[in-house]
Symmetry: C2
Subunit: 95 residues, 2 copies
DNA sequence: ATATATTTGACATAGTTTGACAAGTCATTT
DNA sequence: AAATGACTTGTCAAACTATGTCAAATATAT
């Protein structure tokens, strides 16, 4: 889990930006960005879009990581049946 | 979506049981079972277990359908990126 | 040591989910 | 055509969960 947060942190550090700077841009508290990067809190869809814009990165890529985190959170409590359930869910996508 | 509800209805009808009978066993309102079967409401994990017991079917199989529904619900609003996100999430399971 | 950056925990509040209830439809029986 | 039985639908309060902020704690850099 936490593909999104790791990616955001990587992008932010590469550009030498502070949490506070990202926070100011997307108009939330610094603590929230910190939590998002460490996977302690989920970003909203809209926040992901704004972060992508500010970090000048591909919006769709970030949203994909965000969604992957959501999917993983769904099955993390059910390791025994997760694989089989994923297989079933996947059928929806092949159509 | 709604693998679980369809399966429950199928099992219930095969055994000629009424909604009200299932409802009584798992101690909820009939309306709730109706909604679960039609996918209007999610069953709780515990309800799935109790339904499996009462309908004399494999608990793990029902829980797998229940989880598949939850996974599908996660990506249904994101059709464009769902496939790629599923691919990423899947990596967790191959380990 | 000080200043700056980040993390943590607690909190209020906003938002969502839950299950029950009452009223509704629809099909069958009397 | 009224009554009955099975199921469905809409609404509501209560329970639960998520959200973002604040203040304080900790870590890092100068």
């Amino acid at each position: 889990m936490n593909h999104l947060g790791q990616k955001i942190r990587e992008l932010r550090e590469k550009q030498n930006l502070l949490l506070r700077q990202v926070a100011a841009q997307i108009e939330v508290d610094t603590a929230l960005i910190s939590k998002i990067e460490r996977g302690e809190r989920k970003a909203s869809r809209q926040q992901v879009i704004e972060i992508a814009k500010y970090l000048k990165t591909n919006e769709e890529e970030l949203l994909t990581l965000w969604l992957a985190d959501k999917i993983e959170a769904t099955f993390v409590e059910e390791p025994k049946i997760a694989y089989q359930a994923m297989k079933i869910a996947n059928k929806k996508l092949e159509k």
